[in-house]
């Protein structure tokens, strides 16, 4: 019998595969900066995470009796890349592998695979790692861009040792090679009563360095420039729309501007917030993950604003210096409700809902 096929009998030619590939391409500038800053360590992290994600995905598919061709949709590779870019350079190899397994298994496959996951897989793995290994996940290796880098990361063998055996094997004290991230520094100083401006000057903070990425942080999150380039590429390719990144960043900036003008000692200025931590990475690549974000433009704006409020609140008042990851995960929980309550207005109706 003829299979019943409904119109339309034409298709625009988009596919999941190319969409995912576009995102991977858009992450290339950030990955390049991470290699510049952290040398072979960044390469090792990215490769291990991507391979681990692909392998885990393959095993999951095999176990569930599904076709391995799903691997070709590039989504597992993208998850691996995203996860690697959110990790600190000193992450040991096994932690990267554990994170990748979490991302694929708990983040995605238990829900039924791509398209059904509720939380962003890379972010959920990142948060699991942060909560399980708080020390390692907040120890930031000083990048190679410093005048005197404590350890030569462009040397493959050094990096291999660091990655697989840890800093102890090189007889390097953690204090010697690590430094605080700007966000962490400001937070600790404020708890000691030091105002923001003083803390920043003590840190020798420079907006230009932060924009270019010459600061401590997770390997892929430091360079605002690279992430902006990637984000613009995504928007140009119509992979994402402006709604989430814009509303997210604008909310953080507005809140920061408002509160830093009220109490400049306690609250950091908007530029600092925008350039710091994982905000740019989250705004352009994590919050915009189509599967775990709302579908409609209005919903996306609500989502972005929610992320912005939460990020700024956690950064300003919370126990963790960085709130971007948590805020995206928290808003992920609200996506079904946002989808339900913020639908577009239907043609010929007063509102989207009856």
């Amino acid at each position: 019998m003829l299979v019943m096929l409904s119109s339309p009998h034409a298709h625009g030619g988009d596919s999941i595969r190319t969409m995912m590939l576009t995102v991977i391409l858009a992450l290339m500038p950030a990955a390049a900066v991470s290699v510049y800053l952290f040398g072979w360590l960044a390469v090792l992290l990215i490769v291990v995470c991507m391979l681990a994600c692909l392998a885990t995905e393959a095993i999951c598919l095999k176990l569930m009796g599904k076709s391995l061709t799903t691997l070709l949709d590039n989504s597992a590779a993208l998850t691996g890349l995203l996860l690697a870019l959110t990790l600190p350079a000193l992450t040991p190899w096994w932690m990267a592998v554990v994170g990748s397994v979490f991302a694929i298994v708990l983040g995605k496959q238990v829900y039924g695979g791509l398209g059904y996951n509720i939380f962003n897989p890379a972010l959920s793995a990142r948060v699991i790692l942060l909560i399980s290994f708080p020390l390692q996940m907040t120890t930031w290796l000083a990048p190679m861009s410093l005048a005197v880098p404590p350890v030569n990361l462009y040397d493959l063998s050094t990096c291999l040792t660091l990655f697989f055996a840890g800093p102890d094997a090189l007889q390097l004290g953690l204090d010697a090679i690590s430094m605080a991230s700007p966000l962490g520094h400001v937070k600790t100083e404020w708890t000691l009563g030091v105002p923001v401006a003083e803390a920043l000057s003590g840190y020798q903070y420079s907006y230009l360095d932060a924009f270019l990425g010459k600061e401590a942080g997770s390997i892929g999150e430091t360079s605002v420039l690279a992430l902006l380039l990637g984000g613009i590429f995504l928007m140009a390719r119509h992979s994402i729309t402006w709604h989430i990144p814009f509303s997210y960043l604008a909310t953080v900036a507005l809140l920061a501007a408002l509160f830093s003008s009220i109490s400049p000692d306690q609250f950091a200025p908007p530029m600092f917030h925008l350039f710091a931590g994982g905000l740019m990475l989250c705004a352009f690549f994590m919050a915009t993950d189509p599967v775990s974000s709302p579908v409609t433009p209005i919903g996306q704006i609500v989502f972005g604003v929610g992320c912005g409020i939460l990020t700024w609140s956690i950064r300003s008042f919370g126990g963790y210096p960085e709130g971007a990851m948590f805020s995206v995960l928290l808003m992920n929980c609200a996506v079904p409700l946002i989808d339900h309550y913020f639908r577009p207005r239907v043609y010929g109706h007063e509102s989207g809902r009856e």
Partner: protein, 193 residues
């Protein structure tokens, strides 16, 4: 004013009963299948929890403490909660038979919702005043309602997913609740109370 906001914020987000204190898990899992049911349950719990905190505070201050009967705390509080639950059960049966049917056994089981007794006992333990204990009860209930409704939205979405047979039902529900709990860890330290 700030104090009120902080108490509420703390009870709703930071010390969320379900996700950080792990109280009231049973109704949380039991009534989160559908958003509508979850909303109904949320209002019922909000009603019971707020009134239970108020009543138990009154009983504590004006009956138990003056008479030196603090050791009867638990039994008194359970009595209060049971009466409140009975009351709201009758009310829901009258006003919304469908919700009554949907909540089913979980409605009378609010009685044994440890979050309700928990909030009453914590109020006493933390030596709250009348106003703060009412706020704390209300905040805890709002926190419960918030995660219950969010979670029911997630579960409705998971309902149409091709979840592997191994994880269907409770396993995935628990994993998701765990992930939510992880996300709520982000609020830790937000309010220092």
């Amino acid at each position: 004013m700030t104090e009120i906001a902080l108490i509420l914020l703390s009870a709703v987000l930071v010390n969320n009963f379900v996700l950080t204190k792990f109280l009231g898990i049973c109704p949380f899992l039991g009534t989160s299948g559908k958003v509508e049911t979850a909303v109904g349950m949320s209002f019922a719990v909000m009603f019971v929890m707020t009134l239970a905190s108020v009543c138990s505070w009154l009983v504590q201050q004006f009956i138990l403490v003056p008479l030196g009967l603090e050791y009867l705390q638990t039994i008194f509080f359970i009595l209060i909660i049971a009466a409140l639950v009975q009351f709201i059960e009758m009310m829901i049966h009258k006003t919304s038979p469908v919700l009554y049917q949907a909540l089913g056994i979980f409605l009378p089981l609010i009685t044994t919702n440890c979050a309700v007794l928990g909030v009453a006992l914590l109020n006493v333990q933390q030596e709250q005043t009348f106003v703060t204990s009412a706020l704390y009860g209300f905040g805890a209930a709002v926190g419960f309602a918030l995660v219950l409704i969010l979670f029911s939205g997630l579960r409705e979405r998971m309902e149409v997913s091709p979840v592997p047979a191994l994880f269907k039902g409770s396993p995935l529900t628990l994993i998701t609740a765990g992930m939510m709990s992880l996300a709520f860890m982000g609020f830790s330290g937000l309010v220092k109370i």
